[in-house]
């Protein structure tokens, strides 16, 4: 800004100066005009004034003064020249002004006549004997004359009646014949004098025409390479020798500007002359007919030979002993070159090429097997393919750090369950005990010895009762831990001791319901449901009355049982089960029932009693399943490290497969309130993911892995066995093979 303002100021000043100058000039002109009126009387004065003017501008043209010689006469000339220039500078020339000039010129001419400047002029030695000029003389061959002299009279050709014979005789007899030449201008013969002959001879020899000229006279060196004491001239150094030329600068800057603007192109790289020197075998290929074909593939090219192929390669290209040994060891396919570079002193010694047939055959194979089709490859930035996921930081809250460790079990803890109030945690372990923990203090408040490895525990989701279902061996126990309000304990007891209507239905004989007594009753075990086979999993219905148990047995008809606790009834809902049932779950809202077998998840409508949907999990062996609290989404963990999310409204194929675990996924869980789900695996890690589900059917669920939680020690190749969320807080519990339960918050 400052600079520009300065510049503008300068410009203004210059403008002012210019205006001033113009004004001055105008004044001068006016003065001149005045003077011109009285010019005739004052011409001398005018001259003087002009001289003055020239003096005043001496400084500008000081260079001119130097160029002049020292002589007095020349000085005068210079003066005139200056005057001329001054005059030419004047913009408007008046007629009267012209007069002044002409008068000056006249003066000049007078001086020149005095000097006779053409005295030595030999520049145009015109032959003035014949005035026709320098024309072809044959134009006059039909005329008797050959031109005109200065007075305008015809110059007649000399009478020539010499024939061949005369000429011959003349040649034989006339001793001056050889020095006789015909003058084309006049047509007469001229006999050259001795001096002239001598001159011709000298010129023919390439010597100077002047005999007296000594071409070898000693040279007087004016400028020598020897450093002399005194300068040759005493001229001060030119200003231009130490001041950069503005003109040049201007020129260069113009060039630079032109290059920048692209008006002129800088010189091409001179090395790029290959076009001229080499013949490109394939150059014209692209213009051929085939090239116009859209899917045309040019034939594969033979690689150009390198130094290795040379008959006498530089030594570094020759094999050392090791390289040679390596080459021999290698499989022919793996070799870098199919030959060993060899060196011959001359091309003559190179033997016949033994691999010629081989090489030609390979070349044919190359051409024959080359791809015929162009693979359309879309050029996509890999970054663009990654979906834009929100940052985990923005998806809080989710569990991030381990807060509490619940220690007490002595065997691996297979299953955990949190009470619906969020105060208690139940865990079942291989050490044959079920423990109840206070969540906030990690205190084990109750231990129930059930006498067998506990496979699964499930807290009744109904908050008005306080019951825990425990699966061990071939029995399902219903525990009343008495860890709630007395009212709740009483109501749950009432539920269990409901009037027994001994009505044997279809489930009869399959399972045996029995009340417990004595020690077991004191511990809180209220009911025992004896199953025919080992029970792997128990799952409650949301209302808390129905209980499903899973007895995996390959292709048996009796794998899933549904018990009604209040009426002590059991039924086998399926006439036929396909595959090994892994896990079951009730739909949280609607009367649906989810059954996960090894490869697929089947959804049954319990009211209509038919198969609603079958989900294909794309995994080898489903290990666990969890149903979203909304009921429209299911996640499945599998032993082949995958977690698949199914959107039931979308498809029977997984909406998303998450392969973040490195070992078998053991357990998956949804949070009841927060948009969170988690998977636990044998690699000892729990991966917490954010999974927002939208009510809008058009919007897909947003699944973002947010945290990997580690803490469990891998024991016996087993890591985390079960995982479950706190019902109200964004906390996650995990039980592991290291006999601990951990809380991450």
């Amino acid at each position: 800004m400052e600079e520009s303002s300065k510049r503008s100021e300068q410009r203004k000043e210059m403008e002012k100066e210019r205006k001033k100058g113009e004004k001055k000039r105008r004044k001068e002109e006016e003065e001149e005009e005045e003077e011109i009126l009285i010019f005739n009387h004052k011409s001398a004065e005018k001259e003087k004034e002009d001289e003055d003017l020239s003096d005043s501008e001496d400084s500008v043209f000081s260079g001119l003064e130097d160029s002049g010689s020292d002589s007095e006469d020349d000085d005068d000339d210079d003066e005139d020249l200056k005057v001329d220039q001054n005059l030419s500078q004047q913009e408007e020339e008046e007629e009267e002004e012209e007069d002044v000039q002409s008068s000056l010129k006249k003066k000049d001419e007078e001086e020149e006549v005095k000097r006779d400047e053409y005295e030595h002029d030999s520049s145009d030695e015109e032959d003035i004997r014949n005035t026709v000029g320098n024309i072809p003389m044959e134009w006059y061959k039909d005329f008797p004359h050959i031109g005109y002299d200065l007075d305008g009279k015809k110059i007649y050709k000399p009478i020539r009646n010499k024939d061949e014979l005369d000429d011959f005789l003349d040649k034989m007899e006339n001793p001056d014949y050889w020095r006789t030449v015909q003058d084309k201008q006049t047509g007469s013969d001229v006999v050259l004098s001795d001096e002239q002959v001598e001159l011709v001879k000298r010129l023919q020899r390439g010597q100077f025409g002047d005999v007296n000229f000594n071409e070898y006279q000693p040279q007087v060196e004016f400028f020598t390479q020897e450093v002399m004491l005194h300068p040759v001239t005493n001229r001060p150094a030119d200003k231009r020798s130490f001041i950069p030329s503005l003109l040049e600068k201007d020129k260069v800057s113009k060039l630079v500007h032109a290059i920048k603007m692209g008006w002129i192109k800088p010189r091409r790289d001179s090395r790029d002359d290959s076009r001229g020197r080499y013949y490109d075998l394939w150059a014209s290929e692209d213009t051929s007919n085939l090239a116009r074909h859209r899917m045309h593939l040019p034939a594969p090219k033979i690689p150009l030979p390198g130094h290795h192929e040379s008959y006498n390669p530089p030594p570094e290209y020759l094999f050392t002993d090791e390289e040679r040994a390596l080459w021999e060891q290698q499989d022919p396919v793996d070799r870098k070159f199919p030959f060993v570079p060899r060196s011959f002193s001359s091309l003559r010694l190179v033997p016949a090429f033994p691999r010629f047939i081989h090489e030609r055959f390979e070349r044919c194979l190359d051409l024959y097997l080359c791809p015929r089709q162009r693979k359309m490859r879309v050029n996509v930035n890999p970054e663009d393919l990654i979906p834009k996921l929100p940052k985990p930081k923005d998806l809080q809250p989710f569990p991030t750090t381990q807060s509490l460790v619940y220690r007490g079990h002595s065997g691996l803890v297979r299953s955990i369950s949190v009470s619906p109030s969020g105060q208690w945690l139940a865990s079942g372990s291989d050490d044959g005990s079920v423990r109840f923990w206070e969540i906030c203090s990690s205190r084990c408040l109750k231990t129930v010895q059930v006498g067998g490895a506990v496979k699964s525990v499930a807290w009744n989701p109904n908050p008005s009762v306080c019951l825990l279902a425990v699966a061990l061996d071939s029995a399902v126990l219903i525990l009343s831990p008495a860890l709630a309000d007395r009212q709740v304990v009483l109501s749950s007891d009432r539920l269990l001791s409901a009037p027994q209507e001994a009505e044997p239905i279809e489930g009869d004989g399959l399972v045996n319901w029995s009340d417990t007594e004595g020690e077991e009753l004191n511990q809180g075990i209220r009911l025992k449901i004896q199953h025919p086979k080992a029970v792997q999993q128990v799952a409650w219905h949301t209302k808390g009355d129905y209980l499903a148990s899973v007895m995996p047995d390959h292709s048996s008809h009796l794998q899933v049982l549904i018990h009604q606790v209040s009426r002590r009834r059991s039924q086998n809902p399926f006439r036929k089960n396909k595959g090994l049932v892994q896990s079951v779950s009730f739909h949280p809202i609607r009367p649906y029932f989810f059954v996960a077998t090894q490869r697929s998840v089947r959804i049954y409508n319990l009211v209509k009693q038919d198969l609603t949907k079958k989900l294909h999990a794309n995994s080898k062996w489903i290990s666990s399943m969890a149903v979203h609290p909304g009921g429209d989404h299911v996640i499945c963990g599998s032993y082949d490290c995958k977690l698949s999310w199914f959107d039931l409204d979308l498809s029977t194929k997984p909406y998303r497969m998450l392969r973040h675990h490195r070992k078998a996924v053991r357990s998956v869980a949804y949070h009841r309130l927060y948009p969170l789900f988690a998977s636990a695996a044998d690699d000892g890690s729990i991966i917490v993911c954010h999974g927002t589900v939208y009510n809008d059917l058009l919007q897909n669920p947003l699944i973002v892995p947010v945290k990997v939680l580690r803490g469990h020690v891998i024991t016996h190749e087993l890591g985390v066995l079960d995982v479950t969320f706190h019902p109200t807080q964004p906390w996650i519990f995990s039980s592991g093979a290291d006999a601990t339960i951990r809380l991450f918050t």
């Binding site: 807060s403 105060q423 906030c440 205190r443 009483l490 918050t745």
Partner: protein
Amino acid sequence: MSQLQARFFTENKKYVVDDVPFSIPAASEVQDLSNVINKLLEAKNASHTTVEFDFLVRGLFLRTQLSSHMETEGISTEDVVEIEYVERLTAPEPEECMMHDDWISSVAADSEWILTGSYDKTARIWSVEGKAVMTVAGHSDVVKDVAWVKRDGLTSLLLTASLDQTLLLWEWNSERNKVKARHCCRGHTGSVDTVATDPTGSKFCSGSWDKMLKIWSAVPTDEADEVEEPGDRPRKKQKTQQLGLTRTPLMTLSGHNEAVSSVLWCDSEEVCSASWDHTIRMWDVETGEMKTTLTGSKVFNCISYSPLCRRLASGSTDRHIRLWDPRTKDGSLVLLSLTSHTGWVTAVKWAPSHEHQLVSGSLDNLVKLWDTRSCKAPLYDLAAHEDKVFCVDWTESGLMLSGGADNKLYTYRSSACQMDVGA
């Protein structure tokens, strides 16, 4: 920049130095400044014994070099720096270690006696010297919280809250060493996690897992309140469990969506409660209405209120101690975050006699002593416990107590702290 102009001043008359600016090296640390002050005091008073000082620059403790401290706080080094100095709080020394039979869930102490609640379903009374005086047994489940109600002479009233959904009001005669359950407070339908007595000792407030706060009368009477029993319940069973006279709540304050974890009285009309639903609520006891809600982002485990600085301190599951101004209306303005714990903060307690100091206990086995003027790091880490710390307390006499899952109750005392009390 190697020298700074500094002016020293102190509140303590004992250690006053001349009010003239001194030129001190910019790189000097607390120890150097302390030496300077000691030199000055010695010059003034030959009998002066060396005292360690702590230095405050614009209300913040100096913990690094003076120049770097001023740089981080953005204080100009051109002017004369006003440096306040106080006698340094010496590290609290563990005094007594009282072994319990089980985890200690709560502690309440006054100048003479210490009351602890334990997971072995009993409360215990200890003398300050660490002598077990009394075991108060009566609850059928874990004692979650304890509180002193009143002390007149030899008889004291004390409260225990338990997981068995009741509170017991006990009368304890220290001379005869007899304890008697006066009232059994029934009404909660979840474990009673917290109890607090009002400043006058006539009422108390309890918070429970059933999301309710209940206000009870703390005055022992000889009449049992009528309890509306559901008709179908067998009466016999109830009689056998009775211990003391039944008492029903004066008032129930409902509004929390999750378990109430901590409750306290700000003054005799106002109750403050912290809950697992991420809120701290202030209640008017007269009308039973909720006055203010402070919303946090994590579960609150404990709160403490200091009438000296009128600040609430809360400990939550995200390892931070936060200081709140309870007078802000429905704002969630956190004044200060104290971060150093690595586990849930399970207990906080303001110093009763110092407006800047508080003590906190955490699941990371540490008890930390904080000064709000040095919010970056605690003053001292008290690493006596070998397991989770569940409760801390700080008595008027400057005694700090902490108990936890290693069955030990530690008492600590800091010498300077006691001096503060005396001053």
